[in-house]
Amino acid sequence: MLHEFIVAKHTGMRILIIEDDNETATYLGRALREAGHMTEHGADGESGAAMAAGGGYDVIVADRMLPKRDGLSVIEELRKRGDHTPVLVLSALGQVDDRVTGLRAGGDDYLAKPYAFTELLARVEALGRRMRPGAAETIYRVADLELDRLSHTVSRAGQAIPLQPREFRLLEYLMKHAGQVVTRTMLLENVWDYHFDPQTNVIDVHISRLRGKIDKGFGEPLLHTVRGAGYMIRDSAR
């Protein structure tokens, strides 16, 4: 199964897909439902805006270029009304400046077409998570691994683990999204603040270093590689 990594207890989200290409929308809808979410589909800018205005969605996935109405203007309207539903902007334009305009319009994340579904799913779930309480907690815990965001300390099974600043941020991001898949590009964007696609496996090596520090010598491995998608930190015992 492509989505074998989805945690079973994961509660589904209501996702609105605003996408004019029918095949893409159908595929996205089916794949997201398989991943345990509920989806609805708006086929153009106007109907998408009307559905979004109805509210009740956890995440909106909006194509940027839509018939009848530009995707960005739909987001702008939402934000003007004080609606902060997270929006993932999809676009065939994927360069630095497009990204900036997409985010400036009120989008929360930006994904360039063509994308891997795993990438989209990981981002959608990361966005949905943001809406839930607990995102602002100061101590992250996964099994016996503990990360204190204020004192910048990490310990496992009560044993302090010294980390480099970047390693700390890497772990912090992974633990913030514990139980969710985090892709390599998400890590590069959020931990290093770069949006390019490094040709070599730079992120993998950082992860394996981190793994050496937090998993090696402790019983249960917490930092997992999700084949074809990315990484996930989770308590496999639960």
């Binding site: 994927g94 360069q95 630095v96 400046d97 900036v100 360039a112 063509p114 891997a116 970047r166 290093w192 770069y194 949006h195 390019f196 696609d197 490094p198 040709q199 070599t200 496996n201 730079v202 090596v205 950082h206 394996s208 270093r209």
Partner: protein, 465 residues
């Protein structure tokens, strides 16, 4: 647009009109001033002549009485070029002089000093002439008139008037002629420019605008337009090359992809074969997407900086960031990676692009730096420095380097040196670096690091605004 409207709208016509008006005003003012001052001069001369005459006659009168005056006037009247004289009795009967008829009311106006009156030289010819006269009352009720004909002055005035008309006519003529020649010349040049542009638009990009070599404004314009055309042609050629390369570099993996799916379908049905085919299809399409993205990115960067693309960045921090990002990979590959950033260099730049350029250079150095089993450890040194108002970014390695002949070529798109054909990569890494450098108005230099390759990027530090 009517033909007349077209003519009126030309710059040459407007300029001619302006020149014509300006010169006309000057000419008319000059002639008027000339005639006015000449007139004044002539008039005062006339007056003086008449007064001198009267003084002379009065002298005669004092010594010889009326008879002497009569006699003098009689004499003078008939000498050539004489002034005008007239003596009448109380009843206005002419006693002597060279005037036949004066206006009847003349003597009533005698107290008015010098006056201008019409007169008849010979009886019956009509008051054809004008004179400036002084009328005096002599003892015994006689009237004496002394004056000068002012026909000369009138003639002069007419000459000036005619001169004025001629001058204006001449000006109009000259304006027309100059307009004709100027506009013909200008229009000829403009038409030639228009014709050439049409031919260029029709597709003949090798055409250039005519440069006459006179160094005039048209030549200057033609020169800059030609430089622009040169650039456009160069870009088009480049574009053509790129699309050829795209065709090749995207079609090859597409063909591979198709072949793989086809052969999987052709073989005996097996989940395992299908799965393997699908996995490799995804991998291949990911590579395609990567190449495509890199191409788009280069195109976007070359199109110039979008709004807000430049922010204040510290080059040393970017170098350290990238070094930190690549350090684990380098270590894993047994490569020594060092960042030398002695002093902060702050400039207006795009952090994302600079970061990516550095990442590409390190990628390259690691990938192509040393063949397996080399006798030394690969060492990559990234450094920043400030030199003559420019940021100097250098990535140097001690690997195999690039032969001098290939150094300029590797910056172009899709160029992959033979020895690296086998390794992964799109051949776009260095061209992206090149585009990023151009985006920052910088220069890039590939040199021999003896051994190895040293890439030096110089970017002007924009004034902080």
């Amino acid at each position: 647009m009517t033909a007349l409207g077209k003519v009126v709208r030309t710059t040459a016509f407007k300029l001619s009109v302006i020149y014509f008006v300006v010169f006309s005003v000057f000419a008319v003012a000059f002639v008027l001033y000339l005639s006015w001052s000449t007139n004044t001069l002539l008039e005062s001369q006339l007056k003086e002549t008449i007064e001198t005459e009267i003084r002379g006659l009065a002298e005669q009168g004092r010594s010889g009485g009326l008879a002497a005056i009569f006699q003098t006037i009689e004499q003078r009247s008939h000498s050539p070029g004489a002034s005008l004289y007239l003596i009448t009795d109380v009843n206005g009967r002419i006693l002597t002089g060279n005037i036949s008829q004066v206006p009847a009311d003349l003597f009533e106006r005698s107290g008015m000093g010098m006056i201008t009156v019409p007169y008849e030289r010979n009886l019956g010819e009509g008051p054809r002439h004008l004179a400036m006269v002084q009328v005096l009352r002599l003892p015994g009720g006689f009237w004496m008139l002394v004056g000068r004909d002012i026909g000369e002055r009138e003639e002069f005035r007419q000459i000036i008037g005619r001169a004025l008309i001629w001058a204006v006519a001449l000006l109009i003529g000259l304006a027309l002629v100059s307009w004709f020649f100027v506009s013909r010349r200008v229009l000829k040049r403009i038409d030639s420019v228009a014709a050439t542009s049409r031919r260029i638009m029709a597709g003949d990009l090798t055409r250039r605008l005519e440069v006459t070599g006179t160094g005039d404004e048209f030549d200057r314009l033609a020169n800059s337009l030609n430089a622009m055309l040169e650039r456009i042609e160069h870009l088009l050629v480049q574009l053509r090359n790129v699309s050829d390369n795209i065709a090749h570099d995207l079609k090859t993996p597409l063909t591979r992809l198709r072949n793989r799916v086809e052969s999987a379908l052709a073989g005996p049905p097996s989940d395992e074969t299908y799965r393997a085919a699908l996995v490799s299809t995804i991998e291949e399409s990911d590579r395609l997407i990567q190449t495509f993205n890199a191409l788009l990115m280069i195109a976007r960067i070359e199109a110039g900086p979008p709004e807000g693309a430049m922010t204040e960045v510290e080059a040393g921090a970017i170098v350290r960031d990238v070094a930190e990002l690549y350090e684990p990979v380098a270590e894993e590959q047994g490569v020594e990676l060092e960042a030398v950033t002695p002093e902060p260099v702050t400039l207006m730049a795009n952090r994302e692009l600079l970061g990516q350029a550095l990442a590409n250079l390190i990628d390259n150095a690691i990938k192509h730096g040393l063949p397996a089993g080399a006798d030394r450890q690969l060492r990559i040194v990234m450094s920043t420095a400030e030199e003559h108002g420019r940021l100097v970014l250098r990535v140097a390695d001690n690997g195999v380097g690039i032969p001098e002949a290939d150094r300029a070529r590797v910056l172009e798109r899709f160029v992959r040196l033979e020895k690296s054909r086998s390794t992964a990569g799109s051949g776009l890494g260095l061209s992206l670096v090149n585009a990023v450098v151009a985006f920052h108005n910088g220069t890039i230099e590939l040199a021999d690091n003896a051994p190895g390759l040293s890439v030096t990027i110089r970017i002007p530090i924009a004034p902080e605004t």
